[in-house]
Amino acid sequence: MGLISFLKNKFSKKDDKSSKYDEGMKKSRAAFASKLDNLAKRYSEVNQDYFEELEQILIEADVGVSLTLELVESLLDKSEKEGIKEPSKINEELVDLMFVSYVENGSNIVNDISFSNEGPTVLLVVGVNGVGKTTTIAKLAYRYQKRGKKVMLVAGDTFRAGATEQLQIWAERLSCPIVVGKENGDPASVAYDGMKYAKENNIDLVIVDTAGRLQNKANLMAELSKIKRVISREIEGAPHETFLIIDATTGQNGVSQASAFKDVTDLTGIVITKMDGTSKGGIILSIRDELGVPVRFIGLGEKMDDLEEFDLDKYLHGLLIGE
């Protein structure tokens, strides 16, 4: 059974969760799935031109050149060897391949944050400027508060004007404790204060915000590893999770971001934000392909509960099929 029919079967009954994906990814789908459909309709049989157009659709979804060429080549191969000429069959094969390339490059991952048995669990949140770190932190805090966890925030972005205030406003709305530092102070010392507070107040989940930094700035990346060191000195095994936030509109630079942050912080996951725009987030596939870091959560809208665990089936359903 091809993946498309599998997905159609799996979500044939109106599933609450998948409809959130379907809704959030409406715009992405309009651009991706309908393009694939149109392509299949215009050709009675696949040929050179067909594969070229397929290549275009994938690249325009930010899947990345090398992965795209790889995908298209294996399709060509398969088409020749097995004599598959039907466009819709080829498209199904493509989706299967995308799925395989995602799953093969990373082991099975539990998306949800796994809490440590004893003491606070620490989540460090990193990323380049403007990807939506603070908003994502608020959404994550909300998610675990709803499950009865005691959540607190640490305002580690002492650099950007207004960053601490932004997080404070969220903390107020969520009525959860927050530890802040001085403007332009050392973020590592804020992290230290945060860890201390968490231990003394029986906090379950500490989420540490950090300043946005471009991954090629060596001094800022060094600062990040210092924050990490301070955290692990204060709480054993911490940070238990380090999430890199990536904007869905990011192009091929997303891979460079993931690899640079992976080098200094041992990323345990990626959160893709702003998937509710027209971008297709093809960078998800590229990153998994090249680095093996899994996407754990996905931001599908502006509301507090618009953060979902990443589920490849739902993502593909949202991207390809919809309601």
């Binding site: 690249i59 930010d62 403007g130 205030e165 700035k217 630079n253 460079s256 971008s279």
Partner: protein, 445 residues
């Protein structure tokens, strides 16, 4: 993603066809494929890449290759010129009203850097053009966005207008404009909330702001890291708001910023400014040339060759080279050699032009340039005899030179050590030359 430089890929392709004097369809095809991949990896839009490579092919076909450059360099130059041509030279920044207030509206997706750029732009206009600037915060949605702009305004000492968050942004814009006119300001910068281009309610709000304030410029912020969708975003914003230009943000990252080319190519909108760093004065006018280098992922070899040719008297250079080879190398020669390099441009500029050298950090560059100045000061403070025979220098002489050049004895020793090293290298080169091999790692500084 460490992809090898375009130059390296080209070299291997063109190695096979040395001696060919024209670019033909056949010998170009493979190279064009590489250009295509390079452009796509730089996030240049697929459609743009397609028509671009076709254009380049047509332009290059049958062109005679000058003896001085290889076909690959020729092709690179054609690409480079095409890209910088496309990016445009009509770079005039904000067009100010001759009299009265100029209003600039900043729009864009979330997280592209509107608020930061608003502050940077305000400072640039204040400092460079002596404008009386006012900033206004219209982002009533994102928590603390107005605080952020207020803090920046304070930092750069520019008046700031806000009406809190419990108000319609259109109203804020109107009031801000009234106030700016009243106070005789030259420039009002309106910072708006980030929005998805598909969010109709928020787009309508922007339309209303434009209707009420008729801004002179509507500038779209584009993140240098954005991918293939950037063009769609720009198109939607442009269709709804009639943009007057683009500001590229986060160009100090390692993103190639191919979206700049795509947007310019498909919308015709000029790119007016570029954000090049974290500090508040890190906004610069946009340089199409540099962008072209960046997108191609390589320095501009050809322009280095051109520039070098213009500036250095070839005969003198030849004489120098001969002298060096013969081992009669004095401190004066070292200085001459350094000055020659300086003539071509600052060390930083050269490093930028040389492929394979982008790893030089600003810090290293500044240090190297400082070092050059120090060398010059030291050598200039010596007598002509000392310059030719540095080995005779005693402590007292060194102290004199140090005093005269504002340096220390240790600096003098460093200069002499450098001289010795360079001289030794020359000797080695001579030996290698005789044996027909090149020494590894040539190049003194």
């Amino acid at each position: 993603m460490a992809f090898e430089s375009l130059t390296e890929r080209f070299q291997s392709i063109f190695k096979k066809m040395r001696g060919q004097s024209t670019l033909t369809e056949k010998n170009m095809d493979e190279a064009l494929k590489e250009i295509r991949v390079a452009l796509l990896e730089s996030d240049v839009n697929f459609k743009v890449v397609k028509s671009f490579t076709q254009d380049v092919k047509e332009k290059a076909l049958g062109q005679n290759v000058y003896t001085a450059v290889s076909p690959s360099e020729m092709l690179i130059k054609i690409c480079h010129d095409e890209i910088s041509g496309l990016l445009g030279s009509d770079n005039e920044g904000i067009v100010f009203q001759k009299h009265g207030l100029t209003t600039v509206l900043l729009v864009g997706l979330q997280g592209t850097g509107k608020t930061t750029s608003a502050g940077k732009l305000a400072l640039l206009c204040k400092k460079k053009f002596n404008k009386k600037v006012m900033l206004a915060g219209l982002d009533v949605y994102r928590p603390a966005a107005i605080d952020q702009l207020g803090q920046i305004a304070k930092q750069i000492d520019v008046p700031f207008f806000e009406m809190g968050t419990d108000v319609n942004p259109v109203e804020v814009a109107k009031k801000a404009q009234e106030k700016a006119i009243q106070e005789g300001k030259d420039l009002l910068i309106l910072d708006t909330a980030g929005r998805l281009s598909i969010d109709e309610a928020l787009m309508d709000e922007l339309k209303n702001i434009i209707k009420e304030t008729s801004p002179d410029e509507v500038l779209l912020l584009v993140d240098a890291m954005s991918g293939q969708d950037a063009v769609n975003v720009a198109n939607t914003f442009n269709a709804a708001l009639r943009l007057t230009g683009i500001i590229m943000s986060k160009l100090d990252g390692d993103a190639k910023g191919g979206s700049a080319l795509s947007i310019k190519y498909l919308t015709g909108l000029p790119i007016k400014y570029a954000g090049v760093g974290e500090k508040i004065d890190d906004l610069d006018v946009f340089y199409p040339d540099r962008m072209a280098d960046r997108i191609l992922g390589m320095g501009d070899i050809v322009s280095l060759v051109e520039k070098a040719k213009e500036q250095i008297d070839e005969k003198e250079a030849e004489k120098e080279a001969k002298k060096m080879m013969e081992g009669e190398f004095t401190l004066e020669d070292l200085l001459k050699q350094m000055k020659m390099v300086q003539k071509i441009g600052s060390l930083g500029a050269i490093a930028k032009m040389m492929p394979g050298m982008p790893s030089l950090t600003d810090e290293q560059r500044i240090r190297a340039e400082k070092e050059m100045k120090l060398f010059e000061a030291v050598i200039n403070s010596m007598t002509p005899y000392e310059r030719r025979h540095p080995e005779i220098l005693k402590f007292s002489q060194k102290s004199r030179i140090a005093k005269g050049s504002g340096t220390t004895n240790a600096d003098i020793n460093r200069v002499i050590r450098k001289y010795d090293q360079t001289k030794e290298m020359m000797k080695q080169m001579k030996r290698y030359q005789k044996s027909g091999k090149m020494p590894p790692g040539m190049g003194g500084f």
